[in-house]
C-alpha cells in the first residue's frame, strides 16, 4: 500500500544536455576574469592588497589633512618672549599631557627637531612609494623591451645582449651605488638611478624566457604570413601575452625597490633632510632608540606593511596566473 504512488508530471524536470551547458560556460570565461576570481579567493593575497591600499590611502591623504607640514618645526612663543620648540614629545592627543603643547595633537609624537612624526611618517611613505613606482615602471619598460628584442631575434644579437647582461649582473649593487655617488648628488635622483641600473635585469630575463616560448606559436606564424613586421609581432602580438609574468615580477620588484631606498637612506646616501622617506625616518629613530624608542616604531611598521603587502600580492598573483585543472 505504501508504494502505491503514481508519479505525476510535476515530479520531473526537464534538463538540457549537460555537456553543452558546461562547454558554454567555460568558453565564455575570460582569462583575466578567471585570474581575478582566483585572486579574490586567495585570503593572503587579499590581506596583502588591503595592507597596500591602507598605506597608500594614508600616504595620499594624511599629509593633506594634517595640521602641520612635514618639514615644519612646531614652536610657540611663551610669556617671556622666548621660543619653545616641541622637541621629542611622546605620542599624545590634544589635552593629553601638561606643558606648552598640551592642546596640540601629535599622534606619533615629534622628532628631536620638533617636527610632527605623523605627518613625516606618511610623507615618507609617499616618497618611498613614489621612488619605487617610478623606478620600477621605467625598469619594466626597459627590461621588457630588452628581453623581447633579445629573445625574438635570437642568434648573434641574443648572444651579445646576454653577455652584456652577464657583465652588468656581475657588478655588485654596492659598487654601482658608490660609483653613482661620485657622479651624482645625494637624494631621490641617486636612489632612482641605482634602482634603474640594477632592477631591469630580472625583468628582461623573464620577458626573454616568455618570448622564446611564444615566438614558435602558430598565431605568430599566422601574423607573419599575413605580412606583419618584426616589431608589430613583438609588441602587438607577443607583449600582451607576457603581461602576466611581468606584472608578477613587478610586484616582487617593488618591495625590493622600497627596501633598497630604505637601505640607502639608512646608511646615509639616500634622502637628504628635511626631505624624508621611510628609510631616513628609521635612521633618525635608530639614532635615538635607547632614549626615545617611540620614534622608530611608525616608519618600521609602514615599511613592514609595504614589504609584506607586496610580497603577498605577488605570491597571490603568481598562483592566480598559473591556473591548475583542480581550481576551475
Amino acid at each position: 500500500m505504501e508504494n502505491n504512488y503514481t508519479p505525476v508530471k510535476e515530479d520531473f524536470r526537464f534538463l538540457p544536455r549537460r555537456d553543452s551547458v558546461d562547454d558554454a560556460r567555460f568558453a565564455s570565461t575570460d582569462y583575466w576574469k578567471n585570474v581575478a576570481r582566483q585572486f579574490a579567493k586567495d585570503k593572503f593575497a587579499l590581506l596583502g592588497a588591503a595592507l597596500i591600499v591602507f598605506v597608500i590611502v594614508f600616504a595620499i591623504f594624511a599629509p593633506l589633512l594634517s595640521f602641520y607640514e612635514y618639514d615644519e618645526i612646531v614652536a610657540i612663543t611663551d610669556a617671556t618672549g622666548a621660543e619653545v620648540v616641541a622637541k621629542s614629545l611622546s605620542p599624545q592627543f590634544a589635552g593629553g599631557t601638561t606643558g606648552y603643547f598640551s592642546d596640540k595633537t601629535f599622534l606619533f609624537g615629534t622628532d628631536d627637531m620638533g617636527r610632527d612624526l605623523w605627518t613625516r611618517t606618511w610623507h615618507g611613505a609617499r616618497v618611498s612609494l613614489l621612488i619605487a613606482f617610478v623606478a620600477i615602471l621605467i625598469d619594466m619598460i626597459i627590461g621588457m623591451s630588452y628581453g623581447l628584442i633579445s629573445g625574438y631575434f635570437g642568434g648573434v644579437c641574443d648572444n651579445l645582449m646576454q653577455r652584456f647582461i652577464e657583465i652588468i649582473g656581475c657588478i655588485p649593487t654596492l659598487v654601482i651605488i658608490s660609483v653613482l655617488a661620485i657622479f651624482m648628488t645625494k637624494g631621490i635622483g641617486l636612489v632612482i638611478a641605482a634602482l634603474l641600473i640594477t632592477e631591469w635585469i630580472g625583468m628582461s630575463k623573464i620577458a626573454r624566457a616568455e618570448c622564446l616560448k611564444l615566438k614558435e606559436r602558430e598565431y605568430v606564424l599566422a601574423s607573419r604570413t599575413l605580412g606583419a613586421g618584426n616589431f608589430h609581432i613583438m609588441f602587438k602580438q607577443i607583449l600582451p601575452n607576457i603581461v602576466g609574468p611581468v606584472i608578477t615580477q613587478v610586484m616582487f620588484s617593488i618591495p625590493v625597490a622600497i627596501f633598497t631606498e630604505a637601505f640607502l637612506s639608512f646608511v646615509g646616501v639616500g634622502i637628504v633632510l628635511p626631505q624624508c622617506s621611510v628609510g631616513s625616518l628609521i635612521e633618525a629613530g635608530f639614532n635615538n632608540i635607547t632614549i626615545l624608542p617611540y620614534q622608530i616604531m611608525p616608519p618600521i611598521f609602514v615599511l613592514a606593511f609595504l614589504m609584506l603587502g607586496f610580497n603577498l600580492v605577488g605570491d597571490g598573483l603568481r598562483r592566480a596566473l598559473s591556473p591548475k585543472i583542480g581550481d576551475v
Binding site: 656581475c170 655588485p172 658608490s178 646608511v267 618600521i300 609584506l308
Partner: protein, 314 residues
Amino acid sequence: MAKYITKRILMSVVTLFIIIFTLFVLVRIMPGDPFPVERMTAEMIELKRIELGLDRPIPIQFADYMARLLQGDLGNGTSLYNGAPIMPIILVCMENSFKIGVMSILFGSGVGLMMGIAAALNRGKFIDRFCTICSILGVCVPSYVFMIFLQYFFAYKIPFFPYFFDPSNFFFSAIMPAVSLSLISIATVARFTRNEMLEVLDSDYVKLAKSRGLYGFKLIRKHVLRNALIPVVTVIAPLVVDLLTGAMVMEKIYGVNGLGKLMVDAIAGEGIDYNYVLALSILFSSLYIGIMLILDILYVIIDPRIRLTAKEKV
C-alpha cells in the same frame, strides 16, 4: 668538465678586467677635483697631482695601476684626505668583516637547513607552520629591522650582550652581529630546503626506496638530502652577496670597523675618497665574481646531471 671550468674561469677573469677598467676610467674622468680643494692652494693641488701621477695620460695611469694591483697592492697608494696608506686599513676591516660574515653564514645555513628539514619531515604539523611563518616574516620584513630590535632587546633592555662590537673581546661581541646578519639566510635557506625536501620526498625513487624497506635516518641521508641540497647551494650564492649589503647596515648598527663601514665613510662622508671607492669596489667585485665562480664549479661537481650535459655541450 675541465674544459667547462676553464671556460668559466676565463669568462670571470675577462669580466673582472672589464669591470676594473670601467671603474678606473669612471673615477678618472669624473668632474671636479679629488682633493679637499677648500683647504689647499693651487700650487699644492698641482704638486699633489704630480706626486700621485694624475697628470699623465689615462692609459699609462691604468697600466701602472694594474701592475700594482697584480702585485697585490689593492689600495694602490694612499688616502686622498689624510695621506695614510690604504692597504693596512683595508686588511684590518677585511678581517673583522670576514670573521663575522663566515660566522653568520655558518650559523644561518646550519639553522636554516635544520629548520627546513624539520618542517619537511613534519609536514602540516606545528613545526611546519612555525617555519613557514618565520620564513615569510624573514623574507618580508627587512633584516635591519630585526637587527635594530635584537640590539634593543638583548643588548639594551636585557644587557647580556655588549651593545657595540669590540675586537678585543671578539667572539662574545660578534655573536649578536653574526646572528642578526644570519636571519635572512635562515629564512631563505629554510624555505628552500623545505620545498626541495618535499619535492624529493614525493618522488618515485624515494617511494621505491621506502618500498624496499629503507626507512629513517638512512633513507633521509642517502636518498633525500643529497638530492634536495643541490638547489640549496644555489640559494647560498646570492645570500653571500646579500651579506655584503646587509653587512653595511649591520656594521653601522653595531659599530663594527668593517668593509661596509669603510665604503659608507668613503662615499657618504664629507667628501668622496676616490682611492678608497676604487679599491673597495674592485675588492667587492672580485669577491662577488669569485663566489659565483666557486659556486658554479661546486654545482657541477655536486650534480652529476649537469656534468653530463656540460660535457655534451662543450
